[in-house]
Symmetry: C2
Subunit: 283 residues, 2 copies
């Protein structure tokens, strides 16, 4: 039995290629669908690729069927498109009523809609983490610097808070410093939340010793990991350093490290800790 053929629906960043390579290693036939304006054709010289606009749902479905694809994996960054700029094809317009409703809801609602849409067309949506488990941060201290007791406490405090927030479908990330919760992420996203710490320090609203505070990030419990994988990368580390925090804590198996080598190199260059807590410690 060969593994079923897979289409990697590729946004930006290095993750789509890592998923495509893992899938090939598992003996899958792989088609890379580059989302126009996001996926990078130059990253896939050794793969069969096709470029499709986000609004070209009809064309996407026909292409997948022509290539005899059964499994889909969505991976990589995509700026949430304007409905106006979608330039929808007929395939999309037929499916539009549900999509318009989904656009009004949160990210989860939109992603669930896309998953359901794919399923309705007979595809199976698989998680990038399932295809390439090594994308996920493994347990341990990834940085050169080891965390102190206060950083370990803040890590646990943050993970417990994220778990308590899960019932409310909110909070993929928080910032904790010396036991005090400084910021909780909701609709603004992780980057904006980190930048808020930087701004509060600059304005004097927040008075903290330099290099205090931990960014703590994990999946919301019940999060659909097929579509929306919590991710950090070099940009996250740069912002954490600019905000004067002392490091990051991720929960193992729940957060992807994009451009892993560069991310770890940057954390070390800034003297940050990068902790990956085992799941059992807090959940």
């Amino acid at each position: 039995m060969t593994a079923p053929a897979l289409a990697v629906i590729a946004g930006a960043g290095d993750l789509p290629r890592r998923v495509a390579l893992s899938a090939r290693e598992q003996g899958r036939r792989v088609l890379v669908v580059l989302l126009r304006g996001a996926g990078d054709p130059a990253a896939f010289p050794d793969f069969e690729t096709v470029t499709i606009g986000v609004g070209q749902v009809g064309r996407l479905v026909r292409t997948l069927k022509a290539h005899d694809i059964s499994d889909l994996c969505f991976i990589g960054a995509v700026i949430r498109p304007d409905l106006a700029s979608l330039r929808p094809d007929l395939g999309l317009i037929r499916r539009l009523p549900g999509l318009v409703a989904a656009f009004r809801g949160g990210d989860d609602k939109l992603l669930r809609y896309v998953t359901e849409l794919a399923r309705g067309e007979g595809f199976r949506v698989v998680s990038a983490a399932e295809i390439a488990p090594d994308l996920m941060a493994g347990t341990g201290i990834v940085s050169l610097r080891q965390p102190g007791p206060s950083e370990r406490d803040d890590a646990r405090t943050g993970l417990r808070l994220i778990d308590d927030l899960a019932a409310h479908d909110v909070g993929q990330a928080v910032v904790v410093a010396g036991g005090r919760v400084l910021a909780i992420e909701a609709a603004e996203g992780t980057n904006a939340m980190i930048d808020r710490i930087r701004d509060m320090r600059a304005s004097g609203r927040l008075r903290l010793a330099d290099r205090t505070g931990l960014l703590v990030k994990a999946a919301k419990r019940g999060q659909d990991m097929r579509m929306d994988l919590p991710t950090i990368g070099p940009e996250t580390v740069r912002r954490v350093a600019a905000a004067g925090l002392s490091g990051l804590c991720l929960r193992a198996g729940e957060v992807i490290i994009a451009e892993r080598d560069e991310t770890i190199r940057l954390a070390d260059a800034h003297g940050l800790v990068l902790i990956v807590e085992p799941r059992s410690a807090t959940s």
Copy 2:
């Protein structure tokens, strides 16, 4: 038995005068201590007043003792001072080691320190809500517009979230829209959190119908109500309107409405709902 003499330590806004009047009605002798740069001398023509800088702790203690004051009530807005701009007197310098430590902590820690300091000098710190219970929003729909079912749901969702956050000593306010949590307040304060919604709408990060979303505000459970009373006022309402939200929900007995008439007038002028949920509904 006459009620004990009270010093109202007065910051900015209309609340100090309302507390002073209530205390006088209760038969208390009242001294108004205007905090320099915050308390307004013109608001107290009919009270005995003294003006004291925030750093003049020695002078404050001597003044209170000279006036035979036993009870203190801190009320009104004070910008958290820079340690550098305090111009401390000897009385403050003697107490400085603890204060410096308190400044490093959160607002709660600082306020608890001031309360302990007052207690150590033999004073009793009483809550403004205890002196003037009518400062607190009473239960009901305060606005002309009645809330719809979705607004009532968002109110309950927000209050439940605030209660779940209490264990983490965070979250006096949240914004909820159609069941989705858009923002959670931590160190940034309520105003900055509301403005974030406005900014996310302007940038297109948040796509919501106009006039959706409720600001929900309550005391953290376990909050020291003697020093840090959650407050809304005209400025809150203006920001809620500017952020395109549909209204506010407070929990009865936990949130002060400053400049009540103007606050309600503004809410009505913007067509906002102002809901005061009874405590029993959610806690």
